[in-house]
Structures are given as structure tokens and as C-alpha cells.
Subunit: 205 residues, 3 copies
């Protein structure tokens, strides 16, 4: 599968993970109604990508020019409305952790890839990848009145920046921009971020 | 009156409504002083339009390139400083509801119109109209530490998206972009949103 | 020293002041750990400039295209991690006030200068200078769940807007854009803002 398709697929899986995560947060932690659930799901899912696109001048952002992003984000919110109430409290808490870590890892990789493809330098691409990864979750926490996880968790921004660094290095070593980066490295970077974040959750760092 | 003039007039009335609303919130709910009152009024009035202009790449936003927006927003804040203290508590509460609903309805219409005029597709224009409508109020609620109404009220985003849909449909049926859309449809859309929102307020949905 | 160099130097001193301020806030007021301290320092330091660059369409913002901004911001955060714990409570409180006022004053001047250099009109430049000055601190307060100072303090936005006005007037009188404005006026404007803000702090306005 070509690099650009891989980026899109990982991006959409990240959107779905964050949409379900934001919607579950809305329905359980913040006790919002159906509209609030879908809205917070969509904002959490698309917030990071919108910030990224604004900063590289890609307007209107992919969210607005590519209907697949919105469709996937809305689907995540609707799924939670339909099936979320069947989940027990502990399963919700565990799901929130895993989904947030998955979205964080995928967006760190795709955000960095998008930045490289837009011609940004290595350091800038790492930063933009990190911002894409933490953007949606930070909006979610702000809107529900909680301290953003990026500030309260020790291992949250660090794994994202690490994954972004792996993507940049692999793109430089293989002499391609990330659209052509090997799928393997993108997946290694995402897996590294996810693993490190879960270590942080388990050890409460 | 040509479509572009209608858009501007509706936009400025929306700016005034949100400015008075934000300033009243600052002086009564958040108990801020004169500078805080005018500042929150201006942010509430202009926040939605700035987000919209950033997302369609219209920089500097109309707020900065067209002095009328800022003048109207500041006027709203100053009016509240001069006359706000004469209002009783119940009248303030009622005014806040009506002004917020008015701003929401007008910005849903003008935001959608601006998006269509900028060449965005139908779905994107509906979304951008919705974002323009809820943007200022969401900033107001975030800055005063409250849960944003778009998340806590069932009938808040829905009426805005509905009005945006009416604008897009009427523009497609009449084969014009919204700058040329009939005034009637713009007013129908705004009225629909306002009415639906007030139903939501009365029935506490 | 040419005007553009002066702008850069003042900008970087402002970045350092806000970085130390944000990091101290994170470590003392919000009791965050090392990553949170550096992250909040960087966000406080760069937030205002990123907002400014987005609004004038300068993307990617200077933060991303000029590594010196990030280096200085990160240095501020690291300094607080290394030496911040040695400071007594009263000294932290006093430092927070002075650093915030310094960043506010410097960013008001450099934000206005950047706006003038980008071709914005006088009123727009004053506004953008004010937004640059209050942007980072407002993000800091939002992320740590406090009422933004721009809303709660009477003398916060006013000194920033006054300094911006001095910069615009001096640029018009000397018939140059601000890149060529005399160093003297830039420093006078920053000093005026700083002095006025400190009067506000001492008299609790």
C-alpha cells in the first residue's frame, strides 16, 4: 500500500479512536446528552488535525474538504450513543485509556507525516506531530473542565514526541518524505508510543 | 438589498447580540469589572467569525480588516457598562437566553453564507456555519469556567446546523451562491433556528 | 541595531519571560511534574505568537520555522525544573507577577511591530499587538483552570493596548513601518506598559 494511503488509513483509525473516546467521556464522565456526546466525540476526533492543518496553512482543513473524516468521527459518536450504556464502569475506564493512547500514537505518526509532506523541517515536523497527537484530547479536557492530560501525565507528550522523532529519522534515512516512508517504520513508531503510554498508565507516571 | 449587504447586516446584528450577551455574562455571572466586561463582550462577539475566517484561509479575518465589526462589538460592551446595572436579575437571565439564541441563529446563517461564497461544498458549509454559530459562545463559557452550552443543551447545535442546511438548500435550489440567495430564505433559516432554540430553553431540553 | 533585530531580541526576551512564568505556574500553583512544567512553559511562551501568526496568515508560524523561539522557550522551562524548587513562596509569587508583566509588555510591542510589517492598518495592528500580549497568559490560565487575568484584572489589557498604540503612532510619525521604528519608542512603549501593569498589581486594580 502506498505511503499516502497508509497515512490516510492510520489517520482515520485515529479519528475513530478519539471519537469513541470523546463520546464516552461525554456520556459517562461529564454526563452529557446525545447531542453533547456526538459533539464532544467529533471535536476530540478532529481537533488535533484541524490545529495541524491551520499551522501549515492547509485551509480549509482536511476535515472540511474530505468527508471521510467527518463521517468516521460522527460514526464513533453514534456508536457510543447506541452501545455505550451497555458497558460497565470499569470497562469504560479501561476503554478510555486504551482509545486515548491509540489516538495519541496514530496522530503522532500521521501528524508528523503530514508535516514532512508539507515541506517542514525535521524539528518542526516532530513538534507538529506532537501537537496533532495531543490537540484533540486537550480540547476534550478543556471543554469538560478537567486538567489536560498532557499537563498532568508524565508519559503523555514524551511518547508522542518520541514516535514523531522515529518517523522523521526513518524518513531521513530512507531519503523519502513520509508519504513514501516504509509502512514498517510508521507502525513501529505508533507501537512505541502506545507501549510507552501504557507503561505510564500502569505505573501511574 | 443585495445578498452581500444582507449578510453584512445580519452579521453585525449577530455581533451586537453576542457582544451584549458576553458583556452581561461578565458583569453578572462572572462579576468582572469594566475592562473584563468589554473584553468578554468583544471575544464572544468576534470569536465565532475569527474561527470561521481562519478555517477558510481569509486572513486577516474580517474583524481586523473591517472596522465595523470591532466598533459594533465594543459598542455592545460599553452599552452594558452604562445601562446593565439597571436591569433586574430575572431580566438579565431572560436577556442572556434571547441574545444568545439570536446570535446563534444569525451567525449560523451568515457563517454558512460566507462558506458558500468562499467556494466550500454543501456539507462543509453547513459545518462551518454551525461552528461560526457556536464558536463565540463556547469561548465565553470556557473563559468563565462553565460547561459550554453546545455540550450541555440538547437543542443548541441542532438548530444551528438546521438553519445552515436551509441556507445551503435554498442556495442550491435558486442556483446561486449565498451572496445572491433570496433574503427570504436567510430570514426563514434564522427564524427557524431561533424558534427551535427557544423551544429547547422553555422545555429545558 | 536595525529594527528587525530589535524586534527579534525583544520577542525572544518576552518568550523567555513567559516560559519561566508558565513553568513556575505549573510547578507551584498547579503542582505539575517535570513534563507538565516544561510543556506549560512552552505553551505560555509561544501561544501568543502562534495566534498572531495565524491571524496574519504567516504559516507555518515563526515558532515552527525559526528554531530560536522553541530553544528559548524550552530553556525557560528547564531552568525552572533545575532551580525553581530553591525559591521561597513569596519570591515565586513576586516573580510570577514581574515575569508576566514583562512578557505582556514585550509582546505588545513586538506583536504590533509584526502586524505593521505585515501591512495591517493602525487599528488592526493595535488589536493584534494586544492579542499577542494576552494570548499566552490566557492559554496558561485556561489550561490550569483559572479565570484568565485579562478578564479579572482591570489593568491588564489596557496597558498592552496603550503600548501598541504608542508603537503605531511612533511608526506613523517617523514614516516607517515598525521594522524601522526607532529603538527608543519601542522601549518607551514596553516600559509604559510594564509600569502601568505594576501600578495595577500594587493597587490591586
Amino acid at each position: 500500500m502506498p505511503g499516502s494511503t497508509l497515512l490516510l488509513v492510520l489517520d482515520l483509525i485515529g479519528v475513530l479512536a478519539f471519537a469513541v473516546d470523546g463520546a464516552l467521556t461525554a456520556s459517562r464522565t461529564a454526563r452529557l446528552d446525545v447531542v453533547g456526546v456526538v459533539t464532544l466525540g467529533v471535536i476530540t476526533a478532529l481537533g488535533g488535525g484541524i490545529m495541524r492543518d491551520l499551522l501549515i496553512g492547509r485551509v480549509p482543513p482536511a476535515t472540511f474538504s474530505d468527508w471521510r473524516y467527518l463521517a468516521v468521527a460522527a460514526t464513533g459518536g453514534v456508536l457510543v450513543c447506541l452501545f455505550g450504556h451497555r458497558m460497565g464502569r470499569r470497562r469504560v475506564a479501561r476503554s478510555l485509556t486504551v482509545l486515548d493512547a491509540a489516538g495519541l500514537s496514530l496522530f503522532a505518526v500521521t501528524g508528523t507525516g503530514t508535516a514532512l509532506a508539507a515541506g517542514l523541517g525535521p524539528v518542526q515536523s516532530v513538534l507538529l506531530g506532537g501537537l496533532t497527537a495531543i490537540g484533540g484530547g486537550t480540547l476534550r479536557d478543556l471543554l469538560t473542565g478537567r486538567t489536560p492530560q498532557v499537563l498532568s501525565s508524565g508519559l503523555y507528550a514524551v511518547p508522542a514526541l518520541l514516535a514523531a522523532t522515529v518517523v522523521v529519522l526513518s524518513a531521513q534515512v530512507t531519503h523519502t518524505d513520509v508519504v513514501g516512508v516504509g509502512s514498517v517504520w510508521a507502525l513501529v513508531a505508533a507501537g512505541l508510543c502506545f507501549g510507552l503510554r501504557m507503561v505510564g498508565v500502569v505505573r501511574r507516571i
